[in-house]
């Protein structure tokens, strides 16, 4: 069984068939003409060229016919495109975050996943966001693709036909591991999807959440991307950011070590554009074990 298709698959394929069919007529026709002329009017067989009159009629003909044909191709392509660009209003919206070098998906109820699980036959609208550079969300078996652009929300939509999986590739070159930036769309039965969708792996259920709430982290830092007194935790982990260290601006990776340093000694490396007003004693009440749990938590908030 091949990969799952979408309503758009057939629409795009029919445009291909049309263009290829017309092209083959011309490719074969002109190639055969060249071969026949070279043989028929080869210099040995046909040593004297015969004068051929220039023909306005011919010039007009082979200008007009191709023009009509390419306009037909344009309209055919446009029709398929319109379909692909018109998501139904009731489509389920899923946020897609692309970053160097993986994909993550967030559903309307806050559920997060590395796999894009969707119910069969339901229209899905993807809201595409980038955390860093250009990416492109490409589903070959659906025949759809749209760039994921930092600072801008692009969209795609699809309606899977049948159960199974479809590959997702990053199609816009995005650095060293571009070729490894893949994911999978898994099309599920409605019931199975609902069951999976309802089991919310809520951030609030994470063991570190209560600890951090008690310490007061969430006064200034949010987990949903809104900005309060300090940077949000959402999508923080794994990013590069510029910080001021010993009065000098340097770039660091937000990894466990950096986060641990920032919690234990907030003023040592302060992110550019933020004031160093996080309490020095913020982590005073945390045990070493709790600190590691907090780091685990920060790693999954995205």
């Amino acid at each position: 069984m091949g990969p799952v298709t979408s309503y758009s698959t057939a629409a795009v394929d029919s445009v291909l068939v049309f263009i290829v069919a017309v092209s083959m007529v011309f490719l074969l026709g002109l190639t055969i003409a060249m071969v026949v002329f070279v043989v028929r009017y080869g210099r040995r067989r046909h040593p004297r060229p015969e004068e051929v009159r220039q023909s306005i009629a011919l010039e007009v003909t082979w200008t007009l016919i191709p023009t009509v044909l390419v306009l037909a191709m344009f309209f055919y392509g446009y029709a398929g495109f319109t379909l692909i660009r018109s998501p139904p209003a009731d489509a389920m919206v899923i946020n897609v975050l692309g970053r160097m070098w993986d994909w993550s998906f967030e559903y309307e109820n806050g559920k997060q996943s590395d796999l894009l699980r969707v119910p069969v036959g339901e229209p899905v609208r993807l809201a595409l966001h980038s955390a860093d550079v250009l990416h492109s969300f490409f589903v070959p078996s659906f025949r759809i693709k749209e760039d994921v652009v930092p600072g801008q929300e692009n969209f795609l939509w699809f309606k899977p036909e049948g159960l199974g999986t479809a590959d997702v590739f990053c199609a816009e070159y995005c650095g060293t591991e571009h070729a490894f930036m893949m994911s999978t769309i898994e099309v599920m039965e409605e019931a199975a999807f609902e069951e999976w969708y309802a089991t919310l792996d809520r951030l609030e259920d994470h063991p570190a959440y209560q600890v951090m709430d008690d310490v007061g982290c969430f006064f200034c830092h949010t987990v949903d991307g809104t900005i309060e007194g300090g940077p949000t935790f959402k999508g923080l982990f794994g990013k590069a950011r510029r910080v001021v260290r010993d009065g000098e601006e340097v770039e660091v990776m937000v990894d466990r070590d950096y986060l641990r340093r920032s919690i234990l000694d907030p003023a040592a490396e302060v992110a550019v554009d933020w004031d160093a007003d996080m309490p020095e004693d913020a982590a005073e009440d945390l045990t070493a074990e709790q600190l590691e749990e907090v780091l685990d938590f920060l790693e999954i908030v995205r």
Binding site: V12, V15, L16, I19, S23, F26, L27, L30, T31, M34, F37, V38, Y41, G42, R43, H46, P47, R48, P49, E51, V52, Q54, E59, W62, T63, V70, L71, M73, F74, G77, Y78, A79, G80, F81, L83, I84, R85, D132, V133, L134, S136, F138, P140, R143, K145, E146, V149, P150, G151, Q152, N154, D167, C170, A171, Y173, G175, T176, H178, A179, F180
Partner: protein, 541 residues
């Protein structure tokens, strides 16, 4: 009717000017010597580009790491693109054959600004040197792809700044050549050489030169902005600083799409020279071909957005660019029809130059038809940024311009070096290249349709069989190239002495000695007929 050009003088190859040895070349203002300088330099870079290409194909013979790391592979496709585009194919036919033949074809002794001409070669060398330096300095060879898309190009640690500066410098070489050619064609045509008596190669150079002059400054500006972004954090293209990544893409393609026509138009011009000569037939639809060059050059400015259908620009912009893209296909089609019609009832000699030219038409048609698939909105959303696009533009650029550059070499070699090229090895080279080329690039079209993205270091196992075919094709193609260039190299010294007009051509370069005298014409000829009147020239046996 013979054209009076006076007595022959010493050939440009034997002429002893003020300088000796290598200086007699690199300081020469003779358009013919400068043409040879360009030819030598750009073929050297072509060899480097081919080598990198072969290594890339070798890496892709199997999924996973075969030869190099992902980081090195990414630099390899960047370099391959930069070298092939900026150092080989953009200067390409105009800088090598345009320099050598433009003045001769219009009955002039040199281009309008000979010193500027030499300067443009030196600027080219300077740009090329900077490009080579960028590999070994700073953070190492750039890994952005030749398109330098922001914001990745702004944040990678590799030496993008210097590489971009190299392309900036190379742009000036292109602009200078463009200005020189436009002026030459306007001012230095021999008496009687009216616009519609110009050989069609000259028309194509004219259209190309305007694109070079008008479009290249936009690339220069864009690249300068990238440098400023990297050095002082200007923030035009980086969304994190309030910039717009799409702005970069627009600016880049406003130049780089017309640049595609800088690459292909001169090749089309050479087709229009070779077909009449070898079929001894007046070109069919002279004006249609001449005006279609101008039409391509003009409409070519308006289609840059077709590189951006998936970028997130407005749907309106997408369909407008698609419509314009389909319209630009028409003049290319007109050319093909007229070329094929020229063969009709001719007296055709399928010598190597014509063989390569007819292969061009075939491969260029595939390039054009896959271009239609890329230009249609619905199909583009699928094949954009896949191996399909890589296959498509190699059919146009290599199957098109590359094969025509080879055809031009075969056609004009006797004139440039005074020696004939043996035909048999060139048939063999053709067979190897034609088979190798199609085995190399056709699988990419299928792979792309199957969904394999471009610039992929690694791929899923289901893509492997066609990748193996493609890699094997690269070896056959490389073998063909080796036969081709070894044969040329040997012919330069050991080929038969070439007569003035070995092909029975009717344009002016065939009326002077092979190789041409230093100043081309002792007396400036007076032109009394069109470029393709074969009735008066005896056929060559």
């Amino acid at each position: 009717m013979a054209i009076d050009i006076g007595a022959a003088e010493v050939s440009y190859l034997e002429h002893r000017g003020v300088h000796r040895g290598i200086a007699s070349w690199v300081l020469s203002t003779d358009h013919k010597r400068i043409g040879i300088l360009y030819l030598t330099s750009l073929l050297s870079f072509f060899a480097v580009g081919v080598l990198i290409g072969i290594l890339m194909r070798l890496e892709l013979i199997a999924p996973g790491e075969t030869l190099v790391s992902a980081r090195v592979y990414n630099s390899m496709f960047t370099l391959h693109g930069m070298i092939m585009i900026f150092l080989f194919i953009i200067p390409g036919i105009p800088a090598a054959f345009g320099n050598f033949f433009l003045p001769i074809l219009i009955g002039a002794k040199d281009v309008a600004f000979p010193r500027l001409n030499l300067l443009s070669w030196w600027v080219y060398v300077a740009g090329a040197t900077l490009a080579v330096l960028s590999l070994f300095s700073g953070g190492g060879a750039p890994d952005t792809g030749w398109t330098f898309y922001a914001p990745y190009s702004l944040r990678t640690g590799t030496n993008v700044t210097l590489a971009v500066f190299a392309a900036f410098v190379l742009g000036f070489s292109s602009i200078l050549t463009g200005i020189n050619f436009v002026t030459t064609i306007h001012r230095l045509r021999a008496p009687g050489m009216s616009w519609f008596r110009l050989p069609l190669f000259v028309w194509s150079l004219y259209a190309t030169a305007w694109v070079q002059v008008l479009a290249t400054p936009i690339l220069a500006l864009t690249l300068m902005l990238v440098m400023l972004e990297r050095i002082v954090g200007l923030g035009l293209f980086d969304a994190a600083r309030g910039g717009d990544p799409l702005l970069y893409q627009h600016l880049f393609w406003i130049y780089s799409h017309p640049a595609v026509y800088i690459m292909i138009l001169p090749a089309m011009g050479v087709v229009s020279e070779i077909i009449p000569t070898f079929s001894r037939q007046k070109i069919f639809g002279y004006k249609a071909i001449a005006f279609s060059s101008l039409a391509i050059a003009f409409v070519g400015y308006l289609v840059w957005g077709h590189h951006m259908y998936t970028s997130g620009m407005s749907d309106t912009a997408r369909w407008v660019f698609s419509l314009l893209t389909f319209l630009v296909a028409v003049p290319s089609g007109i050319k093909v029809f007229n070329w094929v019609a020229t063969l009709y009832k001719g007296a055709i000699d399928l010598a190597p130059p014509l063989l390569y030219t007819l292969s061009f038409i075939f491969l260029f048609m595939i390039g054009g038809f896959t271009g239609l698939i890329s230009g249609a909105l619905a199909t583009n959303l699928h094949i954009h940024d896949t191996a399909f696009v890589v296959g498509h533009f190699h059919y146009v650029m290599f199957g098109g311009t590359g094969f025509m550059l080879f055809a031009a070499l075969l056609y004009w070699f006797p004139k440039m070096f005074g020696r004939m090229v043996p035909a048999r090895p060139m048939w063999l080279a053709w067979l190897l290249m034609f088979i190798g080329f199609n085995a190399l690039y056709f699988p990419m079209l299928i792979l792309g349709w199957m969904g394999m993205p471009r610039r992929y270091y690694d791929y899923l196992p289901r893509f492997q069989p066609l990748n193996v075919v493609s890699t094997a094709g690269s070896w056959v193609l490389a073998l063909g190239l080796a036969v081709f260039f070894v044969t040329l190299w040997r012919a330069r010294r050991h080929g038969e002495i070439a007569p003035a007009n070995p092909w029975g051509g009717s344009t002016l370069e065939w009326q002077i000695a092979s190789p041409p005298p230093v100043e081309n014409f002792e007396r400036i000829p007076v032109i009394e007929r069109g470029p393709y009147e074969y009735g008066e020239i005896p056929p060559v046996e």
